[in-house]
Symmetry: C2
Protein backbone atom coordinates (compact mmCIF):
# COMPACT_ATOMS: atom_id res chain seq x y z
CA UNK A 1 0.00 0.00 0.00
CA UNK A 2 1.55 3.29 -1.09
CA UNK A 3 1.25 6.58 0.80
CA UNK A 4 -0.91 7.89 -2.01
CA UNK A 5 -2.98 5.11 -3.43
CA UNK A 6 -5.30 6.02 -6.28
CA UNK A 7 -3.55 9.24 -7.39
CA UNK A 8 -5.98 9.66 -10.32
CA UNK A 9 -8.97 9.49 -8.01
CA UNK A 10 -10.05 12.87 -6.67
CA UNK A 11 -10.77 13.17 -3.01
CA UNK A 12 -14.53 12.65 -2.74
CA UNK A 13 -17.23 10.09 -1.88
CA UNK A 14 -16.15 7.36 -4.35
CA UNK A 15 -12.49 7.43 -3.33
CA UNK A 16 -13.48 7.56 0.34
CA UNK A 17 -15.83 4.60 -0.07
CA UNK A 18 -13.04 2.54 -1.67
CA UNK A 19 -10.39 3.45 0.90
CA UNK A 20 -12.75 2.88 3.83
CA UNK A 21 -13.89 -0.47 2.49
CA UNK A 22 -10.38 -1.76 1.88
CA UNK A 23 -9.23 -0.53 5.30
CA UNK A 24 -12.16 -2.31 6.98
CA UNK A 25 -11.77 -5.70 5.29
CA UNK A 26 -8.00 -5.77 5.77
CA UNK A 27 -7.92 -4.63 9.44
CA UNK A 28 -6.63 -7.81 11.09
CA UNK A 29 -8.66 -7.62 14.28
CA UNK A 30 -11.47 -5.43 13.04
CA UNK A 31 -15.13 -6.49 12.99
CA UNK A 32 -15.23 -6.45 9.17
CA UNK A 33 -12.02 -8.39 8.53
CA UNK A 34 -12.22 -10.69 5.51
CA UNK A 35 -9.64 -13.48 5.18
CA UNK A 36 -7.45 -12.95 2.15
CA UNK A 37 -8.75 -15.86 0.03
CA UNK A 38 -12.27 -14.46 0.28
CA UNK A 39 -11.28 -11.03 -1.03
CA UNK A 40 -12.78 -11.57 -4.46
CA UNK A 41 -13.35 -8.52 -6.66
CA UNK A 42 -15.26 -8.57 -9.95
CA UNK A 43 -15.05 -5.91 -12.64
CA UNK A 44 -17.12 -5.50 -15.75
CA UNK A 45 -14.88 -4.73 -18.75
CA UNK A 46 -16.50 -2.57 -21.48
CA UNK A 47 -17.14 0.91 -20.10
CA UNK A 48 -15.74 -0.04 -16.71
CA UNK A 49 -12.11 -0.87 -17.41
CA UNK A 50 -11.84 0.51 -20.93
CA UNK A 51 -13.75 2.73 -23.33
CA UNK A 52 -16.87 1.30 -25.00
CA UNK A 53 -17.82 4.24 -27.23
CA UNK A 54 -19.03 4.68 -29.93
CA UNK A 55 -19.40 0.90 -29.58
CA UNK A 56 -17.62 -1.93 -27.82
CA UNK A 57 -14.12 -2.89 -28.90
CA UNK A 58 -15.49 -6.29 -29.88
CA UNK A 59 -17.51 -4.57 -32.61
CA UNK A 60 -14.40 -2.86 -33.99
CA UNK A 61 -12.66 -6.22 -33.98
CA UNK A 62 -15.59 -7.89 -35.71
CA UNK A 63 -15.69 -5.13 -38.33
CA UNK A 64 -12.02 -5.44 -39.19
CA UNK A 65 -12.28 -9.23 -39.28
CA UNK A 66 -15.28 -9.11 -41.65
CA UNK A 67 -13.33 -6.76 -43.94
CA UNK A 68 -10.33 -9.09 -43.91
CA UNK A 69 -12.50 -12.12 -44.65
CA UNK A 70 -14.31 -10.24 -47.44
CA UNK A 71 -11.01 -9.17 -48.99
CA UNK A 72 -9.94 -12.82 -49.13
CA UNK A 73 -13.31 -14.18 -50.22
CA UNK A 74 -15.47 -11.98 -52.48
CA UNK A 75 -18.27 -14.59 -52.39
CA UNK A 76 -18.61 -13.97 -48.67
CA UNK A 77 -18.74 -10.21 -49.24
CA UNK A 78 -21.71 -10.68 -51.58
CA UNK A 79 -23.65 -12.80 -49.08
CA UNK A 80 -25.88 -11.72 -46.19
CA UNK A 81 -25.38 -10.76 -43.45
CA UNK A 82 -21.86 -9.77 -44.58
CA UNK A 83 -23.03 -7.62 -47.48
CA UNK A 84 -25.36 -5.54 -45.30
CA UNK A 85 -22.71 -5.23 -42.61
CA UNK A 86 -20.01 -4.07 -45.04
CA UNK A 87 -22.38 -1.58 -46.66
CA UNK A 88 -23.61 -0.24 -43.32
CA UNK A 89 -27.11 -1.26 -44.37
CA UNK A 90 -28.74 -1.13 -40.94
CA UNK A 91 -32.28 -1.82 -42.20
CA UNK A 92 -31.27 -5.15 -43.74
CA UNK A 93 -29.13 -6.06 -40.73
CA UNK A 94 -32.03 -5.31 -38.42
CA UNK A 95 -34.31 -7.47 -40.58
CA UNK A 96 -31.80 -10.33 -40.40
CA UNK A 97 -32.11 -10.11 -36.63
CA UNK A 98 -30.26 -12.07 -33.98
CA UNK A 99 -29.36 -14.86 -36.37
CA UNK A 100 -27.59 -12.42 -38.68
CA UNK A 101 -25.58 -10.96 -35.82
CA UNK A 102 -24.64 -14.42 -34.58
CA UNK A 103 -23.50 -15.41 -38.04
CA UNK A 104 -21.17 -12.41 -38.10
CA UNK A 105 -19.73 -13.46 -34.76
CA UNK A 106 -19.31 -17.08 -35.72
CA UNK A 107 -17.57 -16.26 -39.00
CA UNK A 108 -15.11 -13.93 -37.28
CA UNK A 109 -14.58 -15.62 -33.92
CA UNK A 110 -14.88 -19.36 -34.61
CA UNK A 111 -13.70 -22.13 -36.92
CA UNK A 112 -10.16 -21.95 -35.60
CA UNK A 113 -8.20 -23.18 -32.61
CA UNK A 114 -7.95 -21.17 -29.40
CA UNK A 115 -4.25 -20.69 -30.12
CA UNK A 116 -4.94 -19.34 -33.61
CA UNK A 117 -7.56 -16.95 -32.29
CA UNK A 118 -5.15 -15.68 -29.63
CA UNK A 119 -2.57 -14.84 -32.33
CA UNK A 120 -5.18 -13.01 -34.43
CA UNK A 121 -6.50 -11.09 -31.45
CA UNK A 122 -3.06 -10.06 -30.14
CA UNK A 123 -2.02 -8.88 -33.56
CA UNK A 124 -5.19 -6.81 -33.95
CA UNK A 125 -5.00 -5.32 -30.45
CA UNK A 126 -1.43 -4.19 -31.11
CA UNK A 127 -2.28 -2.25 -34.28
CA UNK A 128 -6.00 -1.30 -34.45
CA UNK A 129 -6.76 2.25 -33.34
CA UNK A 130 -9.83 3.98 -31.99
CA UNK A 131 -11.24 6.16 -34.82
CA UNK A 132 -11.73 9.26 -32.71
CA UNK A 133 -9.17 8.95 -29.91
CA UNK A 134 -6.34 7.67 -32.12
CA UNK A 135 -4.96 5.18 -29.59
CA UNK A 136 -4.85 1.41 -29.59
CA UNK A 137 -7.67 -0.06 -27.55
CA UNK A 138 -5.49 -1.29 -24.67
CA UNK A 139 -4.32 2.34 -24.42
CA UNK A 140 -7.96 3.27 -23.77
CA UNK A 141 -8.10 1.57 -20.42
CA UNK A 142 -8.90 3.97 -17.62
CA UNK A 143 -5.90 5.12 -15.59
CA UNK A 144 -7.88 5.37 -12.30
CA UNK A 145 -9.01 1.77 -12.75
CA UNK A 146 -5.48 0.52 -13.37
CA UNK A 147 -4.54 2.17 -10.07
CA UNK A 148 -7.56 0.60 -8.38
CA UNK A 149 -6.62 -2.88 -9.66
CA UNK A 150 -3.10 -2.42 -8.27
CA UNK A 151 -4.42 -1.09 -4.97
CA UNK A 152 -6.81 -4.01 -4.53
CA UNK A 153 -4.11 -6.55 -5.42
CA UNK A 154 -1.69 -4.91 -2.97
CA UNK A 155 -4.38 -5.49 -0.34
CA UNK A 156 -4.74 -9.19 -1.08
CA UNK A 157 -7.67 -9.10 -3.48
CA UNK A 158 -7.99 -11.55 -6.35
CA UNK A 159 -9.55 -9.79 -9.30
CA UNK A 160 -11.85 -11.27 -11.92
CA UNK A 161 -13.35 -9.70 -15.02
CA UNK A 162 -17.00 -10.59 -15.76
CA UNK A 163 -17.75 -9.25 -19.21
CA UNK A 164 -20.46 -9.45 -21.84
CA UNK A 165 -17.60 -9.28 -24.33
CA UNK A 166 -15.90 -12.33 -25.75
CA UNK A 167 -13.72 -14.02 -23.15
CA UNK A 168 -10.97 -14.89 -25.62
CA UNK A 169 -10.51 -11.32 -26.87
CA UNK A 170 -10.08 -10.06 -23.30
CA UNK A 171 -7.74 -12.92 -22.43
CA UNK A 172 -5.49 -11.80 -25.30
CA UNK A 173 -4.55 -8.53 -23.53
CA UNK A 174 -5.72 -8.73 -19.90
CA UNK A 175 -2.48 -10.00 -18.45
CA UNK A 176 -0.31 -7.33 -20.09
CA UNK A 177 -2.76 -4.46 -19.62
CA UNK A 178 -4.65 -5.21 -16.41
CA UNK A 179 -2.28 -7.68 -14.76
CA UNK A 180 -5.21 -10.13 -14.71
CA UNK A 181 -4.37 -13.63 -15.99
CA UNK A 182 -6.63 -15.45 -18.49
CA UNK A 183 -7.99 -17.81 -15.84
CA UNK A 184 -9.51 -14.81 -14.07
CA UNK A 185 -11.41 -13.63 -17.14
CA UNK A 186 -15.06 -14.62 -17.41
CA UNK A 187 -17.00 -13.55 -20.48
CA UNK A 188 -19.14 -14.58 -23.38
CA UNK A 189 -17.94 -17.72 -25.08
CA UNK A 190 -18.38 -20.07 -27.98
CA UNK A 191 -18.79 -23.79 -27.55
CA UNK A 192 -15.43 -25.57 -27.76
CA UNK A 193 -14.28 -28.95 -29.05
CA UNK A 194 -11.20 -31.04 -28.33
CA UNK A 195 -9.44 -32.10 -31.50
CA UNK A 196 -6.52 -34.47 -31.81
CA UNK A 197 -5.06 -35.34 -35.18
CA UNK A 198 -2.21 -34.78 -37.56
CA UNK A 199 -2.56 -31.02 -37.11
CA UNK A 200 -1.95 -31.35 -33.38
CA UNK A 201 -3.94 -31.57 -30.18
CA UNK A 202 -5.97 -28.46 -29.60
CA UNK A 203 -9.20 -26.75 -28.64
CA UNK A 204 -11.35 -25.51 -31.52
CA UNK A 205 -13.84 -22.66 -31.26
CA UNK A 206 -17.16 -23.73 -32.75
CA UNK A 207 -19.77 -21.54 -34.43
CA UNK A 208 -22.25 -21.97 -31.61
CA UNK A 209 -22.84 -19.76 -28.61
CA UNK A 210 -21.91 -21.27 -25.25
CA UNK A 211 -22.77 -18.35 -22.99
CA UNK A 212 -23.78 -14.73 -23.44
CA UNK A 213 -22.35 -13.36 -20.22
CA UNK A 214 -24.72 -10.50 -19.47
CA UNK A 215 -27.14 -9.60 -16.66
CA UNK A 216 -28.25 -12.68 -14.64
CA UNK A 217 -25.86 -14.83 -16.68
CA UNK A 218 -22.94 -12.90 -15.17
CA UNK A 219 -23.93 -14.21 -11.75
CA UNK A 220 -24.41 -17.73 -13.06
CA UNK A 221 -20.91 -17.64 -14.56
CA UNK A 222 -19.46 -16.23 -11.35
CA UNK A 223 -20.95 -19.31 -9.68
CA UNK A 224 -19.43 -21.58 -12.32
CA UNK A 225 -15.97 -20.01 -12.48
CA UNK A 226 -15.38 -18.61 -9.01
CA UNK A 227 -17.66 -20.56 -6.70
CA UNK A 228 -17.88 -17.91 -4.04
CA UNK A 229 -19.58 -14.57 -3.68
CA UNK A 230 -17.42 -11.53 -4.49
CA UNK A 231 -17.13 -8.83 -1.82
CA UNK A 232 -16.38 -6.07 -4.34
CA UNK A 233 -18.03 -5.36 -7.69
CA UNK A 234 -17.61 -2.57 -10.23
CA UNK A 235 -19.86 -2.09 -13.25
CA UNK A 236 -21.31 0.61 -15.45
CA UNK A 237 -24.59 -0.57 -16.97
CA UNK A 238 -27.82 -2.43 -16.33
CA UNK A 239 -25.96 -5.53 -17.53
CA UNK A 240 -24.00 -5.36 -14.27
CA UNK A 241 -26.93 -4.89 -11.92
CA UNK A 242 -27.44 -8.58 -11.13
CA UNK A 243 -23.81 -9.09 -10.11
CA UNK A 244 -23.81 -5.86 -8.11
CA UNK A 245 -26.88 -7.11 -6.23
CA UNK A 246 -25.38 -10.57 -5.77
CA UNK A 247 -22.22 -9.03 -4.35
CA UNK A 248 -24.01 -6.63 -2.02
CA UNK A 249 -26.46 -9.23 -0.70
CA UNK A 250 -23.72 -11.26 1.01
CA UNK A 251 -22.92 -11.03 4.69
CA UNK A 252 -20.25 -8.69 6.01
CA UNK A 253 -18.56 -5.70 4.40
CA UNK A 254 -19.32 -5.25 0.68
CA UNK A 255 -18.73 -2.59 -1.91
CA UNK A 256 -20.58 -2.13 -5.20
CA UNK A 257 -19.62 0.68 -7.56
CA UNK A 258 -21.28 1.95 -10.71
CA UNK A 259 -19.37 4.17 -13.13
CA UNK A 260 -21.50 6.92 -14.65
CA UNK A 261 -20.11 8.24 -17.93
CA UNK A 262 -20.94 11.92 -17.54
CA UNK A 263 -17.76 13.33 -19.00
CA UNK A 264 -18.33 14.44 -22.60
CA UNK A 265 -15.23 16.56 -22.49
CA UNK A 266 -12.62 13.96 -21.59
CA UNK A 267 -14.45 10.78 -22.65
CA UNK A 268 -18.17 10.38 -23.45
CA UNK A 269 -21.45 11.20 -21.72
CA UNK A 270 -24.14 8.53 -21.98
CA UNK A 271 -26.42 6.27 -20.00
CA UNK A 272 -29.97 5.39 -21.11
CA UNK A 273 -29.26 6.53 -24.66
CA UNK A 274 -26.60 3.85 -25.37
CA UNK A 275 -28.65 1.07 -26.96
CA UNK A 276 -25.89 -1.58 -26.89
CA UNK A 277 -25.60 -1.41 -23.11
CA UNK A 278 -27.95 1.07 -21.44
CA UNK A 279 -27.76 2.37 -17.91
CA UNK A 280 -31.22 3.08 -16.53
CA UNK A 281 -32.41 0.72 -13.82
CA UNK A 282 -29.07 0.40 -12.04
CA UNK A 283 -28.85 4.17 -11.71
CA UNK A 284 -32.44 4.53 -10.51
CA UNK A 285 -32.07 1.77 -7.92
CA UNK A 286 -28.51 2.49 -6.86
CA UNK A 287 -29.59 3.96 -3.53
CA UNK A 288 -32.06 1.20 -2.80
CA UNK A 289 -29.42 -1.49 -3.41
CA UNK A 290 -26.56 0.33 -1.69
CA UNK A 291 -24.59 0.89 -4.89
CA UNK A 292 -22.07 3.77 -4.89
CA UNK A 293 -22.36 5.80 -8.10
CA UNK A 294 -19.04 7.09 -9.45
CA UNK A 295 -19.30 10.24 -11.55
CA UNK A 296 -16.41 10.09 -14.01
CA UNK A 297 -16.35 13.87 -14.22
CA UNK A 298 -16.13 14.37 -10.49
CA UNK A 299 -14.24 11.31 -9.32
CA UNK A 300 -11.38 11.04 -11.78
CA UNK A 301 -8.62 13.61 -12.22
CA UNK A 302 -7.27 11.68 -15.21
CA UNK A 303 -9.16 9.39 -17.57
CA UNK A 304 -6.58 7.71 -19.81
CA UNK A 305 -2.95 6.81 -19.13
CA UNK A 306 -0.23 9.00 -20.57
CA UNK A 307 -0.31 8.61 -24.32
CA UNK A 308 3.26 7.40 -24.13
CA UNK A 309 2.24 4.43 -21.99
CA UNK A 310 2.17 1.07 -23.75
CA UNK B 1 11.80 -25.25 -1.77
CA UNK B 2 12.87 -27.47 1.10
CA UNK B 3 16.07 -29.49 1.19
CA UNK B 4 13.98 -32.61 0.94
CA UNK B 5 10.96 -31.98 -1.20
CA UNK B 6 8.60 -34.88 -1.64
CA UNK B 7 9.63 -36.93 1.43
CA UNK B 8 6.89 -39.49 0.76
CA UNK B 9 8.13 -40.07 -2.78
CA UNK B 10 10.74 -42.80 -3.05
CA UNK B 11 13.81 -42.13 -5.07
CA UNK B 12 12.98 -43.53 -8.54
CA UNK B 13 11.88 -42.58 -12.04
CA UNK B 14 8.66 -40.73 -11.08
CA UNK B 15 10.30 -38.58 -8.41
CA UNK B 16 13.23 -37.90 -10.71
CA UNK B 17 10.92 -36.88 -13.55
CA UNK B 18 9.11 -34.41 -11.28
CA UNK B 19 12.27 -32.90 -9.79
CA UNK B 20 13.95 -32.61 -13.18
CA UNK B 21 10.91 -31.01 -14.77
CA UNK B 22 10.47 -28.43 -12.02
CA UNK B 23 14.18 -27.63 -12.05
CA UNK B 24 14.12 -27.10 -15.82
CA UNK B 25 11.06 -24.83 -16.00
CA UNK B 26 12.19 -22.71 -13.05
CA UNK B 27 15.86 -22.27 -14.10
CA UNK B 28 15.89 -18.53 -14.82
CA UNK B 29 18.25 -18.59 -17.77
CA UNK B 30 17.75 -22.18 -18.85
CA UNK B 31 16.43 -23.18 -22.28
CA UNK B 32 13.23 -24.62 -20.78
CA UNK B 33 12.37 -21.70 -18.50
CA UNK B 34 8.63 -21.04 -18.22
CA UNK B 35 7.48 -17.65 -16.90
CA UNK B 36 5.66 -18.03 -13.62
CA UNK B 37 2.14 -17.13 -14.83
CA UNK B 38 2.34 -19.93 -17.40
CA UNK B 39 3.17 -22.59 -14.82
CA UNK B 40 -0.29 -24.12 -14.84
CA UNK B 41 -0.73 -27.59 -13.34
CA UNK B 42 -3.89 -29.67 -13.59
CA UNK B 43 -4.77 -32.62 -11.38
CA UNK B 44 -7.59 -35.07 -11.67
CA UNK B 45 -9.26 -35.59 -8.27
CA UNK B 46 -10.79 -39.07 -7.75
CA UNK B 47 -8.03 -41.66 -7.63
CA UNK B 48 -5.36 -39.01 -8.20
CA UNK B 49 -5.63 -36.76 -5.15
CA UNK B 50 -7.82 -38.95 -2.98
CA UNK B 51 -9.11 -42.51 -2.79
CA UNK B 52 -11.87 -43.54 -5.22
CA UNK B 53 -12.45 -47.11 -4.05
CA UNK B 54 -14.75 -49.02 -3.80
CA UNK B 55 -16.41 -46.11 -5.58
CA UNK B 56 -16.01 -42.37 -5.82
CA UNK B 57 -16.68 -40.21 -2.77
CA UNK B 58 -19.50 -38.56 -4.71
CA UNK B 59 -21.35 -41.89 -4.65
CA UNK B 60 -20.99 -42.17 -0.87
CA UNK B 61 -22.33 -38.64 -0.59
CA UNK B 62 -25.22 -39.40 -2.92
CA UNK B 63 -26.06 -42.55 -0.97
CA UNK B 64 -26.19 -40.76 2.36
CA UNK B 65 -28.23 -37.93 0.85
CA UNK B 66 -30.77 -40.38 -0.65
CA UNK B 67 -31.13 -42.06 2.76
CA UNK B 68 -31.65 -38.69 4.45
CA UNK B 69 -34.25 -37.66 1.89
CA UNK B 70 -36.01 -41.04 2.16
CA UNK B 71 -36.12 -40.75 5.96
CA UNK B 72 -37.85 -37.38 5.63
CA UNK B 73 -40.15 -38.39 2.77
CA UNK B 74 -41.36 -42.02 2.66
CA UNK B 75 -43.16 -41.33 -0.64
CA UNK B 76 -39.78 -40.68 -2.26
CA UNK B 77 -38.41 -43.92 -0.81
CA UNK B 78 -41.21 -45.87 -2.50
CA UNK B 79 -40.60 -44.30 -5.90
CA UNK B 80 -38.06 -45.24 -8.60
CA UNK B 81 -35.16 -44.80 -8.97
CA UNK B 82 -34.90 -44.20 -5.20
CA UNK B 83 -36.50 -47.51 -4.23
CA UNK B 84 -34.09 -49.56 -6.35
CA UNK B 85 -31.13 -47.52 -5.11
CA UNK B 86 -32.05 -47.93 -1.44
CA UNK B 87 -32.63 -51.66 -1.89
CA UNK B 88 -29.41 -52.17 -3.82
CA UNK B 89 -31.52 -53.50 -6.70
CA UNK B 90 -28.90 -53.20 -9.45
CA UNK B 91 -31.02 -54.88 -12.13
CA UNK B 92 -33.79 -52.29 -11.83
CA UNK B 93 -31.28 -49.44 -11.58
CA UNK B 94 -29.57 -50.68 -14.72
CA UNK B 95 -32.93 -50.89 -16.50
CA UNK B 96 -33.71 -47.29 -15.47
CA UNK B 97 -30.48 -46.30 -17.21
CA UNK B 98 -28.88 -42.89 -17.45
CA UNK B 99 -32.11 -41.08 -16.67
CA UNK B 100 -32.46 -42.93 -13.37
CA UNK B 101 -28.91 -42.06 -12.35
CA UNK B 102 -29.42 -38.42 -13.30
CA UNK B 103 -32.60 -38.28 -11.25
CA UNK B 104 -30.66 -39.49 -8.22
CA UNK B 105 -28.08 -36.77 -8.75
CA UNK B 106 -30.64 -34.04 -9.29
CA UNK B 107 -32.62 -34.96 -6.18
CA UNK B 108 -29.51 -34.96 -3.99
CA UNK B 109 -27.43 -32.16 -5.54
CA UNK B 110 -29.96 -29.61 -6.82
CA UNK B 111 -33.04 -27.63 -5.84
CA UNK B 112 -31.13 -25.54 -3.35
CA UNK B 113 -28.83 -22.53 -3.38
CA UNK B 114 -25.07 -22.84 -3.81
CA UNK B 115 -24.67 -21.62 -0.23
CA UNK B 116 -27.06 -24.27 1.11
CA UNK B 117 -25.28 -27.01 -0.80
CA UNK B 118 -21.91 -25.86 0.58
CA UNK B 119 -23.24 -26.17 4.15
CA UNK B 120 -24.62 -29.67 3.47
CA UNK B 121 -21.41 -30.80 1.80
CA UNK B 122 -19.09 -29.43 4.50
CA UNK B 123 -21.16 -31.03 7.21
CA UNK B 124 -21.09 -34.40 5.45
CA UNK B 125 -17.37 -34.25 4.67
CA UNK B 126 -16.62 -33.57 8.35
CA UNK B 127 -18.46 -36.63 9.61
CA UNK B 128 -18.90 -39.32 6.91
CA UNK B 129 -16.33 -42.12 7.05
CA UNK B 130 -14.95 -44.56 4.52
CA UNK B 131 -16.53 -47.97 5.28
CA UNK B 132 -13.27 -49.93 5.08
CA UNK B 133 -10.57 -47.41 5.97
CA UNK B 134 -12.50 -45.74 8.81
CA UNK B 135 -11.35 -42.21 8.05
CA UNK B 136 -13.22 -39.17 6.81
CA UNK B 137 -12.81 -38.71 3.08
CA UNK B 138 -10.59 -35.63 3.30
CA UNK B 139 -8.30 -37.83 5.44
CA UNK B 140 -8.04 -40.17 2.44
CA UNK B 141 -6.10 -37.73 0.32
CA UNK B 142 -2.71 -39.05 -0.67
CA UNK B 143 0.19 -37.74 1.41
CA UNK B 144 2.68 -37.77 -1.53
CA UNK B 145 0.25 -35.66 -3.56
CA UNK B 146 -0.18 -33.11 -0.78
CA UNK B 147 3.61 -32.78 -0.79
CA UNK B 148 3.62 -32.48 -4.56
CA UNK B 149 1.00 -29.70 -4.47
CA UNK B 150 3.11 -27.81 -1.92
CA UNK B 151 6.27 -28.36 -3.95
CA UNK B 152 4.68 -27.09 -7.16
CA UNK B 153 3.21 -24.05 -5.41
CA UNK B 154 6.58 -23.26 -3.83
CA UNK B 155 7.95 -23.24 -7.37
CA UNK B 156 5.40 -20.77 -8.67
CA UNK B 157 2.82 -23.16 -10.11
CA UNK B 158 -0.89 -22.39 -10.04
CA UNK B 159 -2.79 -25.60 -9.51
CA UNK B 160 -6.21 -26.52 -10.86
CA UNK B 161 -8.32 -29.59 -10.29
CA UNK B 162 -10.14 -30.98 -13.34
CA UNK B 163 -12.52 -33.64 -12.07
CA UNK B 164 -15.37 -35.74 -13.34
CA UNK B 165 -16.79 -35.32 -9.84
CA UNK B 166 -19.17 -32.56 -8.88
CA UNK B 167 -17.40 -29.22 -8.72
CA UNK B 168 -19.35 -28.01 -5.70
CA UNK B 169 -18.51 -31.03 -3.55
CA UNK B 170 -14.79 -30.56 -4.23
CA UNK B 171 -15.01 -26.82 -3.62
CA UNK B 172 -16.41 -27.57 -0.15
CA UNK B 173 -13.08 -29.07 1.04
CA UNK B 174 -10.37 -28.22 -1.50
CA UNK B 175 -9.14 -25.07 0.17
CA UNK B 176 -8.72 -26.66 3.60
CA UNK B 177 -7.39 -29.99 2.36
CA UNK B 178 -5.44 -29.24 -0.82
CA UNK B 179 -4.83 -25.51 -0.39
CA UNK B 180 -6.61 -25.04 -3.73
CA UNK B 181 -9.27 -22.31 -3.71
CA UNK B 182 -12.76 -22.89 -5.21
CA UNK B 183 -12.01 -20.79 -8.29
CA UNK B 184 -9.31 -23.30 -9.25
CA UNK B 185 -11.69 -26.26 -9.15
CA UNK B 186 -13.17 -27.41 -12.45
CA UNK B 187 -15.60 -30.31 -12.42
CA UNK B 188 -18.99 -31.59 -13.39
CA UNK B 189 -21.74 -29.09 -12.78
CA UNK B 190 -25.47 -28.48 -12.76
CA UNK B 191 -27.06 -25.59 -14.59
CA UNK B 192 -27.44 -22.58 -12.30
CA UNK B 193 -29.99 -19.78 -12.01
CA UNK B 194 -29.80 -16.32 -10.45
CA UNK B 195 -32.63 -15.71 -8.02
CA UNK B 196 -33.48 -12.48 -6.27
CA UNK B 197 -36.47 -12.25 -3.95
CA UNK B 198 -37.59 -12.09 -0.37
CA UNK B 199 -35.38 -15.06 0.47
CA UNK B 200 -32.30 -13.19 -0.69
CA UNK B 201 -30.14 -12.89 -3.75
CA UNK B 202 -28.51 -16.17 -4.62
CA UNK B 203 -27.50 -18.82 -7.13
CA UNK B 204 -29.74 -21.88 -7.31
CA UNK B 205 -28.59 -25.31 -8.49
CA UNK B 206 -31.05 -26.65 -11.05
CA UNK B 207 -31.91 -30.28 -11.77
CA UNK B 208 -30.27 -30.20 -15.17
CA UNK B 209 -26.75 -31.19 -16.14
CA UNK B 210 -24.50 -28.36 -17.29
CA UNK B 211 -21.29 -30.29 -17.92
CA UNK B 212 -20.06 -33.82 -17.31
CA UNK B 213 -16.38 -33.05 -16.97
CA UNK B 214 -14.79 -36.23 -18.27
CA UNK B 215 -12.47 -37.19 -21.15
CA UNK B 216 -12.56 -34.60 -24.00
CA UNK B 217 -14.86 -32.42 -21.90
CA UNK B 218 -12.03 -31.94 -19.39
CA UNK B 219 -10.01 -30.21 -22.11
CA UNK B 220 -13.00 -28.12 -23.20
CA UNK B 221 -13.49 -26.97 -19.62
CA UNK B 222 -9.79 -26.22 -19.23
CA UNK B 223 -10.24 -23.95 -22.25
CA UNK B 224 -13.29 -22.32 -20.69
CA UNK B 225 -11.94 -21.87 -17.16
CA UNK B 226 -8.19 -21.46 -17.62
CA UNK B 227 -7.70 -20.26 -21.17
CA UNK B 228 -4.18 -21.55 -21.54
CA UNK B 229 -2.55 -24.90 -21.93
CA UNK B 230 -1.24 -26.50 -18.72
CA UNK B 231 2.41 -27.57 -18.63
CA UNK B 232 1.84 -30.24 -15.99
CA UNK B 233 -0.96 -32.80 -15.75
CA UNK B 234 -1.57 -35.68 -13.34
CA UNK B 235 -4.34 -38.26 -13.82
CA UNK B 236 -5.11 -41.89 -13.17
CA UNK B 237 -7.66 -43.13 -15.71
CA UNK B 238 -8.72 -43.07 -19.34
CA UNK B 239 -10.91 -40.10 -18.36
CA UNK B 240 -7.69 -38.11 -18.00
CA UNK B 241 -6.08 -39.14 -21.29
CA UNK B 242 -7.38 -36.20 -23.34
CA UNK B 243 -6.04 -33.62 -20.89
CA UNK B 244 -2.74 -35.45 -20.59
CA UNK B 245 -2.42 -35.37 -24.39
CA UNK B 246 -3.48 -31.72 -24.54
CA UNK B 247 -0.85 -30.83 -21.93
CA UNK B 248 1.95 -32.82 -23.55
CA UNK B 249 1.25 -31.55 -27.07
CA UNK B 250 2.20 -27.96 -26.19
CA UNK B 251 5.59 -26.45 -26.98
CA UNK B 252 8.42 -26.49 -24.46
CA UNK B 253 8.91 -28.56 -21.33
CA UNK B 254 5.88 -30.61 -20.27
CA UNK B 255 5.17 -33.33 -17.76
CA UNK B 256 2.24 -35.76 -17.78
CA UNK B 257 1.88 -38.32 -15.01
CA UNK B 258 -0.47 -41.26 -14.63
CA UNK B 259 -0.97 -42.90 -11.25
CA UNK B 260 -1.31 -46.69 -11.45
CA UNK B 261 -3.11 -48.17 -8.45
CA UNK B 262 -1.10 -51.37 -8.00
CA UNK B 263 -0.97 -51.38 -4.23
CA UNK B 264 -3.55 -53.79 -2.83
CA UNK B 265 -1.77 -53.89 0.48
CA UNK B 266 -1.78 -50.19 1.37
CA UNK B 267 -4.64 -48.97 -0.84
CA UNK B 268 -6.26 -50.82 -3.76
CA UNK B 269 -5.06 -52.52 -6.95
CA UNK B 270 -7.18 -51.85 -10.03
CA UNK B 271 -7.13 -50.52 -13.57
CA UNK B 272 -9.24 -52.01 -16.40
CA UNK B 273 -11.50 -53.77 -13.90
CA UNK B 274 -12.90 -50.57 -12.33
CA UNK B 275 -16.05 -49.98 -14.37
CA UNK B 276 -16.77 -46.47 -13.02
CA UNK B 277 -13.44 -45.13 -14.28
CA UNK B 278 -11.28 -47.69 -16.08
CA UNK B 279 -7.61 -47.37 -16.93
CA UNK B 280 -6.83 -49.20 -20.17
CA UNK B 281 -5.97 -46.98 -23.12
CA UNK B 282 -3.95 -44.42 -21.17
CA UNK B 283 -1.72 -47.19 -19.80
CA UNK B 284 -1.29 -48.85 -23.19
CA UNK B 285 -0.44 -45.59 -24.93
CA UNK B 286 1.55 -43.98 -22.12
CA UNK B 287 4.87 -44.51 -23.90
CA UNK B 288 3.58 -43.31 -27.24
CA UNK B 289 2.25 -40.08 -25.72
CA UNK B 290 5.21 -39.50 -23.40
CA UNK B 291 3.21 -40.07 -20.21
CA UNK B 292 5.18 -41.07 -17.09
CA UNK B 293 3.45 -43.93 -15.28
CA UNK B 294 3.65 -43.77 -11.49
CA UNK B 295 3.42 -47.12 -9.71
CA UNK B 296 1.88 -46.40 -6.32
CA UNK B 297 3.59 -49.42 -4.86
CA UNK B 298 7.04 -48.39 -6.04
CA UNK B 299 6.87 -44.62 -6.01
CA UNK B 300 5.25 -43.83 -2.68
CA UNK B 301 6.75 -44.61 0.72
CA UNK B 302 3.54 -43.47 2.42
CA UNK B 303 0.00 -43.42 0.99
CA UNK B 304 -2.18 -41.60 3.51
CA UNK B 305 -1.34 -38.82 5.96
CA UNK B 306 -0.90 -39.69 9.63
CA UNK B 307 -4.26 -40.75 10.96
CA UNK B 308 -4.00 -37.94 13.49
CA UNK B 309 -3.92 -35.35 10.71
CA UNK B 310 -7.12 -33.37 10.17
Amino acid sequence: MTDHPLPSWRNGPARTAILDFVARVTAENGPDHVPQPERIAVFDNDGTLWCEQPYQVQVFFLTDRVRELAAKDPALAARQPFKAFLEGDHATLHALGKQGIQELFFATHAGMTEDEFAVLARDWLARAKHPKLGRTFPQLTYQPQLELLDFLRANGFKIFVASGGGMDLIRAFSEDTYGIPPEQIIGSSMKLRFEAGDAGVSIVKLGELNSFDDREEKVVNIGLHIGRRPIFCFGNSDGDLAMLRYTLAGKGARLGLLLHHDDAEREFAYDRDFPLSPLVEALEKADAYGITVVSMQNAWSTVFPDAAAP
